[in-house]
Subunit: 146 residues, 2 copies
């Protein structure tokens, strides 16, 4: 069985356990996400999905990403200018994201990068940090030089 196939089976079981269903569009989205390791914009997901099954509508991609997020299978990160990037939840224990404000590239960062900050926020302000939900903003090395 392919990697995507394994994921699809596992997700199907979890969906059915909640009275939900595994469908063509959901298979296509999972296949699209499993095929790429980067963080995909909705447009990129739509393109990949269309390559798998051209009959899948854009709105279904949104609804599927939402459904899979609620299942905990997919995570989204808010990146610059109102866009959102999606990726399968891996087994790397979570990671953070940084986006270059010049070129827009999103890179992964170690999951523990903000642990100290999170502790300080908790003790000093009672604020519970959700470190991986929003990409840090700045400039990547190539853009900072230019």
């Amino acid at each position: 069985m392919t990697a995507a196939g394994t994921v699809i089976e596992a997700v199907a079981a979890r969906l059915r356990a909640r009275g939900e269903r595994m469908t063509g569009p959901r298979r296509a989205v999972l296949t699209a996400l499993a095929g790429r390791t980067e963080h995909l914009s909705v447009d990129e997901v739509v393109s990949a999905v269309t390559a798998v099954d051209p009959s899948v509508h854009r709105a279904s991609v949104y609804r599927t990403l939402e459904a899979l997020s609620e299942l905990g299978v997919v995570q989204h990160v808010h990146v610059g200018h109102g866009r959102t990037a999606y990726h399968l939840v891996g087994n790397d224990g979570g990671h953070l994201h940084a986006q270059c404000r010049s070129c827009g590239a999103v890179r992964d960062l170690p999951g523990d990068l903000l642990d100290g900050t999170a502790r300080r926020l908790a003790t000093e302000f009672g604020f519970v940090l959700d470190a991986d939900h929003v990409a840090l903003s700045g400039q990547c090395a190539p853009c900072a030089e230019a």
Copy 2:
């Protein structure tokens, strides 16, 4: 002279130095921002501006905020779900922002909160962090309890 008046004079000088102009809408936006210390959404700015001068169009508020950002007089922070919050650049040396994902409230944080993280990002990844450009996400104390 009022606080807003002082700001307007200073900004007018900097605008003229660049061949740009101080206008009614720009005065109204500066007055609106100077009158409140919080971070204002565009809607809040528009409301405050309308109170000062009802003839100012929404599009001009956007253009003015953009122009004042380029001047360095106004800063914007990206907060949840594609919204942007604006505030005058104060003389507090800069501060960071945290937004509660439940209630949406934005609070200020010390400007040095991410200094250590910024150093680590710079040395390990060559990434130049722009710490105040995006609000950290999480839950504020009241919402975390509930």
